[in-house]
Structure formats: C-alpha cells, structure tokens
C-alpha cells in the first residue's frame, strides 16, 4: 500500500463494489450461445469430460453471471442425484487408509512369520547300520529361502495383493482437474 491507501473503512466499500462488478460482469447478457448440455454435465460434477478450454470458459462465465450461478445451483438440485458413483470413485482418503492398514498388517505378519522360522540345528542320533552316533544337520530347516517361506503363507500373500491393489487405487494419478 502506498501512502495514499490507508486502512480506511471506505476502502472496503470500494473493494466490495469492485468485486461485485467483477462477479457480475455478464449479468443480463444473452444466453443464446450458452451450451446447455455442458451446463448439465457440469452440474452433474462431470466437468472433466468437457474439453478443457470449453470448461474453463464456462466456469469463468458462471463466475461472472450470478444468474448462471443460480441456474447451476438449481440444476444440481434437479439432476445432482442422477449420478450413481461407481465403487471405483470411493473417496481416496478411505482407500489410502485401507492401504496404510494393509501395509502395517503386511509388515507385522512378515516379521512374525520370519521370527517363527525354525532355525537349523544339529541333532545327534544313532545310526542303526554302523551302530555309531552321527549328527544329522538341518533336521528342522525351513523349506527353502525366506522369500519362499513368505510366498507360501496365504495371509502374507493376501495382504501383499491387497497392498498392491489398494496402492494402485490410492495413488494412481488422476486426470488433472486444472482448468
């Protein structure tokens, strides 16, 4: 603010008038060229299906014409309930929470399973052929490597699949909503 502009209550009146002016630029303008189908699509919350340029122009036009704002509001009341959102559009927050829970469970199960893996030990037994004591190694060795141990665990595998699927659903990039 320069010295001329000071915090005077009058300033607010000017700002109010200016904003009202900006928001009502096209009030009363003809609607003959208005694409009504695009308005309906917008009212249904499917504006991203419109060409970006058309969508941006329409949003700006609504912003500068209060009657178009009213039209959009009424259209939403009319047909806003006609959009049956498929399950894939479950809010991402919920999907991300589920993904995080699944991930924690996956790590927990993994740690538990690895902890439970029997260790190799040596046992002394009597060989019936020779009559001598021999050492039999790895009597309780795990079947294969650590990975194969986990891969054979149905709970771990289910959680792993869940983490992958939910992760894709939660973080797969959407189409930009920028106008």
């Amino acid at each position: 603010m320069n010295a001329m502009i000071h915090p005077d209550p009058i300033d607010h009146e000017v700002v109010i008038s200016a904003l009202r002016d900006a928001m009502q630029r096209q009030a009363g303008a003809s609607w003959d060229d208005l694409n009504i189908e695009s308005m309906a699509v917008l009212a249904q919350g499917r504006g991203d299906e419109l060409p970006p340029r058309e969508r941006a122009l329409l949003l700006k036009r609504i912003a500068s014409d209060p009657d178009l704002g009213r039209l959009l509001k009424e259209l939403r009341a009319d047909i806003g309930d006609t959009i049956a959102r498929p399950a894939i559009f479950v809010p991402r927050t919920a999907i991300r929470l589920a993904w995080a829970a699944c991930l924690v469970a996956l790590v927990t199960v993994g740690v538990i399973r690895l902890g439970d893996t029997p260790t190799t030990r040596t046992v002394e037994i009597l060989d019936s052929g020779s009559g001598q004591a021999v050492f039999l190694d790895e009597l309780q060795e795990s079947n294969g490597s650590t990975l194969s141990t986990l891969a054979g665990d149905p709970i771990f595998v289910s959680l792993l699949v869940g983490v992958v699927l939910l992760g894709a659903g939660a973080f797969w990039p959407r189409r930009s909503s920028n106008s």
Binding site: D11, M23, A29, A40, A56, A63, P66, D67
Partner: protein, 276 residues
C-alpha cells in the same frame, strides 16, 4: 471410430428405440469421431434433429413425464412444469442451419447439437430450467453494472466537504476497483468459480467442489488459495507499505465483501468460513 463399433452402437440404439428408424450411415455421420457417453440418446436426438417425426414422438413418450416430475419439484409459479417441457421441446425444434442440412435440403433442428454427454432427459431438463430462469431474470431485472464511478460515489459520501480528499478518494477508488477486477479476472477459472459459487451463490462447499471435480478438503484448500491469490494480486497491483494494521483492515474488508455478495439466506449462514 471403428466401423464395427459404430454398427454395434447403432444396433443397440435401434433396439432401444424400435419405433425410430434412422440409417446407419446417417448415424455414423452424425456421430463423427466422438465417443458419446449415451450413444442411444444420441441416436434418437440425431434422428429428431433430422426431422424424423417418430423420433420426436418417442422422445415425448419416453421422457416427458420424467422431466416434468423433476421440474415440478421447483417449477416457477409463473410457468408450470408442463409449459416448460413444451417450451423446451419448441426450443429444440428450432431450425439450426449452422448444424447442417437434411437430405431434403432443409435445416436440421437445434436438438442435433446434443452430443450425448449427458442423458437426453437431463438435457431437456436443463433447457427447461434455463428457459425459466432466463425469462425470470429478464423480467425482474435488466443488465446490471456497477461502475467504478458508482463505487467512488459510495466512497465519497463521507468526504464531501474536502475537495482535496474527495479527489484523492476518487483516485483511490479507481485504482482499487481496477486492481480488484483485474485480480479476479487473473484467477484461474476454477478459482473464480469457487469464489462466486460459494460466497455469491451460496452453493455448499462440497457441491461447488464437485462441479469442478474436487473433494471437500481439496475445495477448502483451493478456496483458500483463491482468496490468497486474489489478495496478493491486489497488493501486487497496488504496492506499497504493508503493516499489520493495513493487513487487518484488508481482512475486514474482504469479510465484509463476501458478506455483502452472498445472497441472503434466512435458514443458514451465508458463508462457511472467513475470507482472506
């Protein structure tokens, strides 16, 4: 679009509208390269646009009551739902030479502009609603324009005794008005829309956000961005000293501004959170 796919769409559409006969080639030409969400409705609308009377009858039979029931929820007292449906039909039946000519050499009808993005009854419903609001606004109020001079007059009311101050205030009013209008216009489209829809039209945040594809929390975030950008741009255009007092005064100004722009709603508050 792949020929087989078009033929498949055409067959499905024919099955949906058995009374309407429209050649495959005409449908293909009408469809062009588009992949409509509702190809069946595009079929019957295209046929109606090409003046096939059975298509109009089929539309009336299938969608009239559906649209009227929805219109009746909030039809204007001066125009009944039935009338609105008839007016919407009449508008769709207007000659539209820009959309092309039929084989008989007459202009196709306005309904041919329908692209199949939304269901045909909602297209009619939107048309009817547009007619109602357009008529109402034309009767109730003409074009409005709040000029910079008018804004300056408001500013002048308490300073009429001092010519020097008067001149200074006028200059200030011009500068501020210009800055605010330019700042608003410089905002990206969805920010303009969010500010207007939420603060001016009283649309709920979730509803306004849904229109531009935002979740409620994203809407709040974008709204704050819009407010901040608006204020920063005004500050940028009217640079100078910036003190805590000035900031507080501007904050009060914005809140007052939103309060006055928001339509009176006796049932609930005009806006959900403070601006700036």
């Amino acid at each position: 679009m792949v020929a087989d796919h078009v033929q498949q769409l055409w067959q499905t559409a024919q099955a949906t509208w058995p009374k309407v006969s429209w050649p495959l080639e005409a449908y293909r030409s009408h469809l062009g390269e588009a992949s409509p969400t509702h190809p069946e409705d595009l079929y019957v609308a295209g046929a109606a646009g090409h003046r096939i009377q059975l298509a109009w009858s089929a539309i009336d039979e299938a969608y009239r009551m559906m649209v009227i029931h929805r219109l009746e929820r909030s039809a204007r007292a001066d125009l009944e739902a039935e009338d609105l449906w008839s007016e919407a039909l009449a508008r769709m039946m207007r000659d539209d030479p820009e959309s092309g000519m039929t084989e008989e050499g007459v202009p196709v009808m306005h309904i041919a502009r329908y692209r199949g993005l939304t269901r045909l009854p909602w297209h009619f419903l939107a048309t009817a609603r547009t007619i109602a609001i357009d008529r109402h606004r034309k009767r109730e109020r003409g074009p409005r324009h709040v000029s910079a001079e008018a804004a300056a007059e408001v500013a002048d009311t308490s300073q009429q005794d001092d010519p020097a101050l008067l001149s200074s205030q006028r200059e200030l009013a011009d500068v501020l008005t210009d800055a605010v209008v330019k700042a608003f216009e410089a905002l990206e489209a969805r920010h303009q829309f969010l500010l207007a829809a939420i603060y001016r039209d009283g649309l709920g945040k979730a509803d306004a956000g849904a229109v531009v594809g935002l979740s409620p929390w994203q809407t709040s975030r974008e709204l704050r961005k819009a407010e901040e950008q608006l204020r920063l741009q005004v500050q940028h255009m009217v640079p100078g000293q910036w003190s805590p007092d000035t900031r507080a005064a501007w904050d009060r100004g914005w809140r007052l501004c939103w309060n006055r722009l928001a339509p009176p709603d006796p049932d609930k508050g005009a806006f959900s959170e403070g601006a700036a």
